[in-house]
C-alpha cells in the first residue's frame, strides 16, 4: 500500500525535490504532467529550459 501511495504521489506531484526550482510559480518538472494539466484546464504551457552550470 505504501508503494502504491508513493507511486500515486510520484505520478501526480507537480514538483520533484532536488532541482533548484525558481521560487514562485507552481512548477511541473515533467512535460507530460504539465501538458495534461494544461489540456484539462484549457491553458497554454510556459516552459523554461535550463541546465546545471
Amino acid at each position: 500500500m505504501i508503494r502504491l501511495a508513493i507511486a500515486t504521489i510520484a505520478l501526480s506531484a507537480p514538483l520533484v525535490a532536488g532541482d533548484k526550482l525558481p521560487k514562485g510559480p507552481p512548477w511541473h518538472t515533467e512535460y507530460r504532467f504539465a501538458k495534461r494539466e494544461a489540456l484539462r484546464k484549457g491553458q497554454p504551457v510556459f516552459v523554461y529550459f535550463t541546465k546545471t552550470y
Binding site: M1, L4, A5, A7, T8, L11, S12, V16, G18, D19, L21, P22, K23, G24, P25, P26, W27, H28, T29, E30, Y31, R32, A34, K35, R36, E37, A38, L39, R40, K41, G42, Q43, P44, V45, F46, V47, Y48, F49, T50, K51, T52
Partner: protein, 382 residues
Amino acid sequence: MLPSKKLKPYYDKISWLYVCRLFKPSDARDREALRTHERFGISSWPQMFVFDPATGRVLREMPRSLAGFKAGLDAVLADRKPAPPEGLAVRARLQSARKAIKAGRRHKAVAILTRLAAGNDRFEGWLEARELLRSLGVRAGASKGLGDPDPRERALALEAMSHRPRAIAKARPHIERLVLDDGEDIVVRLRALRCIGAVDPGWIAKNAASMLDVANDPWRYAVLEFATQHPNPELGPVLCKLFEGAGTKVASRNPNVLRINVTLCLAECGDVASLRVLQPVVAAADPRNGLTRMTVAAVAKIATRERGAARDKVLRGLLEGVPEADDSDEVTAARRKLAIVRAVVDGFAEVFGRDRVPVAPRTWTRADQKRLTAALSALLRE
C-alpha cells in the same frame, strides 16, 4: 524575474514547466529532461516560450524582462477559452481514482481507471489511467513496448534496447518504420534513429537526404553524425542548403551548432560545389568566429578528394583563408589567427605532403603572412 510576486496572477492561468538538464544519464529525471529538450529541439540555454499543449506548437518566445514577460503572457492569454467541461470531468475521475487508492479501495480505483484507460480522450486521461493501473500492477496498464499507444512508452522501449544489438536486429523492420514515419512522435523517431545508428549507421547515411528535412535540431545533429561516419557524396547539395538556410529558411533554434555539424559532414561528403557556401566563411577568415577554423579544415579535406582543376579551385579558396596579419594584434587575437593559419597549412600538407609545405609560423606578423602566402601560392603554380 520568475520568482517575482507580480507573476502571481498568472499562476493558475497557465501551466508552468521547468526542465533542467543535469547531464547525468543515470538519473531518471535527466533522461526525462532530455526527452523534453529533444521534443522541442533545444540545444542551448536558457530558453523560454509558451506552447499549445494539444499541438506542441510554440505560441510565443518569451523575453527575460518582467514587463515583456507579462505582456507576452497577456498576449497569449487574450483569446483564452474557459476550461473544457470534458477535461475537468476527466480530471475529476482521476482524482476519484486517487482518493480510492489512498483509502485502500483498490477495486473502485481499478474500475474507474480501467474505464478511463479504455477510451482515447484528448485530455490524456487514458494515458494517466494506464500509468496508475501499471503502478497498481493491473494488466490493462502494462506497457506494450514498441507497439504501445503511448509515445513515451515506445520511447522508453527503444531506450531500453539501445545497447542491445540483438534486440535491435530482431525488431529492425519495426524500428525502421518508426524512423521513417513522418507522423511518429519526434522523441520516438530520434530514439529509433539512434538504435539503427548503433547497428547500421550506413542505413541512415543512405536515407539521410529526406531525414534532414525534419525540423528538429537534435534529430538533424544525429543524422549528420551518422552521415559523417559513413560519407554519402549525394548529400552535398542538401548539406549546402542546410548551411545556407540555418536559422532562416531552415528552422533551427541553434543555427550555429547546426552549421558546425553540417560543416563536419561536408568535410566528408562535400566536393568543389560545396565551396559556394563554405568559401564566404573561409574568405572572411574571421578569427572570432568559431566556425572559421572548422570550415577551413572542411575545405582542406575536400581538397584531398578533388583532382585537377577542381582541386586547384578548392586550394585557391583555402589560400583565401589565410587571415590578415596585424602587427598590433593582441596575444589572443594573434593566437586565434595562428590557429586558422595552421588549419590552412595542414590542408596544403594533406594535398602536397608535409615535406613540401612550409611549417606554420609561430608568430603572425605581416612578414610571416607574406612569406607563407608566397610559399603556398608557389605550390599552386607548380
